[in-house]
Amino acid sequence: MSMKRTLFLILPAVLFISIFMLIPLMIALVYSFMTSDSYGGVTAPATFDAYIQLLYQQDFDGSLIFSTDYLFIILRSIELAVATTLLCLIIGLPVAWHIVCQNASRRKFLLFLVTMPFWINTLIRTYCWVLILRDQGLINMTLRNLGLIMDPLPLLYNDGSILLGLVYTFVPFMVLPIYSTLERVDTRLIEAAHDLYAGRWQVFRRVIWPLAKPGIVAGSILIFAPALGSFLAPDLLGGGKKLLIGSLIQMQFTSSRNWAFGSALAVLVTATVILTLIISSRRNKVGEVRI
């Protein structure tokens, strides 16, 4: 294939994504330094107001008061995203290892079962948990019919239900990358470790875990990034009572009409995600050298 043809073929996709994704991201960056228009959109004077608003609240007389409200929301969102990633790792690693240990046809079948939910609408997958957890939901009704409880347990609309929803949504993202790294592992290494008197735990700690690391890093990124900006789980399972950054951003463009602040938040989230990507890919490279 000639150079001209190569560029001719790649150009349409590159242009499309550049115009409709990269440029919008740049525009949001610009918007975050503008002043919000109360009808939606932004107006001329360029300021840092949107970023200042993250840490300070404007008092009635115009003076700035230090406020941790938004900082708190951001920290809580990061906390939940980290918790989601860790839980997915704890659940996903043993499952991935189990699948690797199976024969070819069973592997295929199990992988199919793990990937399938990924293609089902997240809205619907999240809603299923509303059916199970709400006051008249499956769990509460079952317990009440068994006579174990009188009043419904408050299972929905708390951090636990949000976390459950996030783990449920993202856990396949952890199983698949770990599986694909473990699948390529030379099994003689495990047998060698065994011959050198390593027990199960040591084989895991010294052989499987280091070899699975690239997959763990990939899975963690695939989960942390979307979990940080997640909207549906906090909205449907958290009841929107306590805000998370995803809902906060969305609100700035609907009810609050503060586009500059919303853009600043979006810039912050994107920067965090990209930073995580860079750091983890660099650390991973260091790790590969060490092994």
Partner: protein, 275 residues
């Protein structure tokens, strides 16, 4: 355990392929993945007005949902968007996959590679609001057109995946044979490459279609009056409370996604069995 060396095993019966408890853990995990979906499907066949009390099997909510004109309009919108976005993104993705797998190694290859998968990395809420800002700042209002553009962008990487994988798997031998027989570039593509990657293009198209149908957040932000998509409409229903209609429409969407993905899988399998 290979080899016939009579080595004394230090721990009797150690088989690294069998870790006690892992099999059970995996099945518990799969139950965790599928049990909620199962609950939804069962509830959607419940005849009772109150979702939680089971009074008998019934299809009445499905009938009711299918006769709801708002749902029908939203479904048509979703379908139009998904079909056009699928065609556009699959065309762009096929060309891009060919360039990335068969083209010359141009400068900035890594950057282009990253750019193509950019929609996978940027959080959905950010994509949603930046797209909204973009359309409003340039004053573009094409109705469904806006949604089609937005969907095409994030469908591209999903369509690229199976096509690239197929091109990589089959290697360049067939194309070389064609070249040896003096086929020009166009005929080579038309007679050799295209038939070989056709099932993968089909699979990529279906994945793009499902991704478009499944999208909620971006559609929520970009859609306006009259361009509501089905997930956005269903979300509105969910906000009002748990009703049998929501269960029925959710089950319909679920079944649609599952059948399409199984179809994509079968297409992928057919592609591999051709070699």
């Amino acid at each position: 355990m290979s080899g016939g060396t009579p080595v004394q095993r230090p721990i009797q019966g150690f088989d690294w392929r069998k870790t006690p408890g892992l099999g059970v853990a995996t099945w518990v995990f799969l139950a965790f993945l599928y049990m909620p979906l199962f609950v939804l499907v069962v509830y959607s066949f419940n005849a009772n007005n109150l979702v939680t009390i089971w009074t008998g099997f019934s299809l009445r909510w499905f009938v009711k949902v299918l006769h709801n004109p708002d749902i029908r309009d939203a479904a048509i919108n979703s379908l139009v968007i998904a079909v056009v976005a699928t065609i556009l993104s699959t065309l762009l993705a096929t060309a891009a996959a060919l360039a990335l797998e068969r083209g010359r190694n141009f400068r900035g290859f890594g950057t282009v590679n990253g750019l193509i998968s950019l929609p996978l990395v940027v959080p959905e809420v950010v994509v949603a609001i930046t797209t909204l800002i973009f359309f409003s700042s340039i004053g573009l209002n094409l109705g469904l057109g806006n949604l089609i553009i937005a969907h095409t962008v994030f469908c591209i990487p999903f369509a690229v995946l199976p096509i690239r994988a197929r091109l990589k798997d089959m290697g360049g031998a067939y194309e070389e044979a064609g070249r040896d027989l003096y086929a020009d570039e166009w005929r080579l593509f038309r007679r050799v490459t295209l038939p070989l990657i056709a099932p993968a293009i089909g699979a990529g198209g279906i994945l793009a279609f499902v991704t478009s149908l499944d999208d909620f957040l971006i559609s929520l932000m970009v859609s306006g009056p009259g361009t509501t998509t089905l997930p956005v409409y269903v979300y509105g229903m969910m906000r009002l409370g748990v009703t049998p209609e929501v269960n029925a429409i959710s089950t319909l969407l679920l079944v649609l996604s599952v059948s399409l993905v199984v179809l994509a899988l079968l297409l992928g399998r057919r592609a591999r069995s051709r070699d």
